[in-house]
Symmetry: C2
Subunit: 399 residues, 2 copies
Amino acid sequence: MRMERPREVERFGAIRFGGLQKVFELDSGLKNDGLPGKGSTVIQISYEELYEIEKDMAIVVPIRKERLKLIEGVLCGIPHQCLTIIVSNSPISPVDRFAMEKHALEDFCHFVNKTALICHQKDPLFSTAFRNAGYTGILNKKGEVRDGKAEGMIIGIMLARLAGKKYVGFVDADNYFPGSVAEYVHEYAAGFALSRSDYAMVRIAWQSKPKIIKSRLYFRKWGRTSQHTNRFLNKLITDYSGYDTEIIKTGNAGEHAMTTELAMILDYSTGYSVEPYEIVNLMEKFGGVTESLFPEVMKTGVEVYQIESRNPHLHEAGDTEHVEQMSYVAMQVIYHSPLCTQELKKEILKEMYERKFIKKGKAPPKPQLFPALCFISLKSFFKDIEAADCAQLIKEGNL
Amino acid sequence: MRMERPREVERFGAIRFGGLQKVFELDSGLKNDGLPGKGSTVIQISYEELYEIEKDMAIVVPIRKERLKLIEGVLCGIPHQCLTIIVSNSPISPVDRFAMEKHALEDFCHFVNKTALICHQKDPLFSTAFRNAGYTGILNKKGEVRDGKAEGMIIGIMLARLAGKKYVGFVDADNYFPGSVAEYVHEYAAGFALSRSDYAMVRIAWQSKPKIIKSRLYFRKWGRTSQHTNRFLNKLITDYSGYDTEIIKTGNAGEHAMTTELAMILDYSTGYSVEPYEIVNLMEKFGGVTESLFPEVMKTGVEVYQIESRNPHLHEAGDTEHVEQMSYVAMQVIYHSPLCTQELKKEILKEMYERKFIKKGKAPPKPQLFPALCFISLKSFFKDIEAADCAQLIKEGNL
C-alpha cells in the first residue's frame, strides 16, 4: 500500500480527524524501501508491515440472507492472516440458511487451512450472556438479541476481544468484488500502521459507487446521503471550533475498523445510524466538551484516519427506502447528542420537516443506544457462551 | 494467493495444458505455511514467492485513447515490484494525448518512487529498428509500426526482453477495478510459481463479466465469443488426440503472461486473433506434429496454466462489432493453421457462412502473421532505439 499522509488535520478535544487520504499503489512491495524520505507526502506501507498488523486483526462480516456466492467472494478477499468472524442473522426456517452458511465457511476453511468463527445473532447463549451482564438493551421482547447490523457488530467486537485481537474491522457481505474487500482490509492495516495511539479508527470513503443509469455505468463519487451526513457532522465540529470544515468524508462508512481498545469504550446506536454515531460518540466522549470517563484516553488521544479506496464500490443494490432512512437516522443521532447546539438542532429539524421525515412541530424520537462494552465482564460473558462452537475455537487458541 | 492445482492436464506433444484453476484466497500470507501437505489439491503461493517472481516481471499495458482516469487506476493496481511498460498508440493531434499519458505516468512514478517505461507505437525509432531487423511485416505502407494491440504487445515484449525481465504479462487499460489488475498480476506470478519449465504461459479466465441487462447487473460467466473460440481450439486438440476435451477455457484471454523466453519464440498474429493464435502457434511449434525449430524446447516442454480470476471483469464497454470480429478472426487463424484437419476446416466454413462472415464458396483470407522475435538481433535493435527515453532508462538499469 502506498498512500498520502493526511494533509489536513482537524482537532476536536483529544480527537485527531485526518483528512481523506489518496491511495497510489495497492501493493507497494515486500519491504520498506526507505523512500521517499522527509518532506514527502506519500508513504509506503510494505506488505510486511500490513501483514504484521493483519495477523492481529479480526474482520467481522455481519450477514443476513446474502447470497452464498457473494459471501464466498468476500471470504476469498479477506487476507489469510486475519481472523474472520461471521455473525449471521439469516433465517433458519423454512430453509436453514445459517446451516448453509456454516457449511460454506467450513468448506472454505478446509481448503485454505484457516480457522474462522461463525455464530448466529439469535443464539440463546449470546442472549443469556448479555442478560447476565445487564446489557439488556440489545435484547428484544422475546429476550433474543435484536435484529440489526449494529447488534451483529457488537457480537463481533466481543468475539474479537475474546480472541485477543488488537484490531477489529468490518466488511459488508454484499460486495461483488473480492479485490475490494482485500483493499479495504489492507487500508485498515495501513491506517493503523500510521497511527500513534492505541485508540484509532480507520474509515473508508469509496472513490466511487457505480450506478446503472440508462444501461450505462455512472461512477457517482458522492452519494447524497453521505454528503448530508458529512455536512451535519462537519457542522457539529464547526459549532465548537468556529472554523468551517469539510474534514469528515466518511460519516456513513460501513467499511471501517478500530483498535479493539477503542471499540470497547465506544457507545453504539442501532441500525443505519451506527456508523455516523461512532463519530458523534467519539466527539462526546473525547471532545473535551464534557468531562471524559476515560481520562487515560484523553491523554493518549484518539486518531481517525479516512482513506479513499481505489476500487469502485459495487454491491448488491439496496432499495431507496434504506437511503432515506440512513439520512434520517444520521440526523437523529446528531440531534440528540448533548453536543448539538440549538442552531444545529433547528437546521436538522428544518431538513427533517422538508423531507417529511417527521411531522412539523415534532422532534425526532431519541435513538436507541448501547453503552460501551468495556462494562461487561469478559470472563463471565465467555463462561456464558462457552458451549458455542466459536467459543470453543477461541478456547483452543491459535486464531 | 491460494488456489487449486490443475486437476486435469491435456498433453499435446511437448505442451501441457492445465485445466482451469480456482482461486481460494487472494492473499494467503507472507510466508509458506507448509500446509496443506501431500495429497491436497489446494496450494498456497506466499506473498514472498509472488514478490520474487513479480520483481522479474514486466507488465505491458497497450493503450489507445483510454481515459486517463482508467489508466491511473490500472497503474495503481500493478504491484510496485513489476516493471510497467506502457505502449501507447494514442493520437498526438489535435490534442497530444500521448503527452498527457506521459505526464500522468511521470506524476505517478514520482509519487510512488518507481521507474516505468512508456513509448509510442509510432515512434520512428521503433519503425527504423524493425526495418533494419528485416521485421517489416509490422510496418504499414507509410513505414510506421501498424495500428493494433498485437503490434503494441510486440513492442512491449521487445522492451521487456531488453530490460532483462524473465516474465512478461499483459493487462488492458480499460479496467475499472485496480484490484482486478492486482489480482491478474498475482495470478500470473502464481502460475509461474507452479511451473517447472522456462517456457510457460499463464492465461486468465474471468469468473464473470457483468453485463447491464434491464438496469441490473447480470454476471455472465461464458461469453459467446469465448465459448466459440474455446470450442474450436479444443476441437483442434481432439482431432489429434482422439479424445473429446474441454481443456481450453482461455482462447480469447487478453489477460495473460509468458516467460520472456517463450514470448520470444512464438509467432504472433494481428488484431483480435493474437490471443487464440498464441495457442494455435504453440501447438504448431511444440505439438510434435511437424518437426520443431526449437528441439531444446521440445525437450523441456511448454506449460500453459489457466486460472479463473475471482473479481468480475468490468471494463469499458466495447461495441458488438468487436465481438463478432473476435469470433471471426479466431476461426480464421485456426482454419489456416497447418494443423487444421479437413473436417475442422469444413466445420469452420459452415459456421462462417452461417454467420455471414464470408460469402458462400469462399475461404477466409490468410491472416497476417509476425514471425518470432528471437530472430531479431537485440543488440542492433537496441542501438536503433537508443535515443528513445525508454531505451535510456533501460540503459541506466535498475528497473
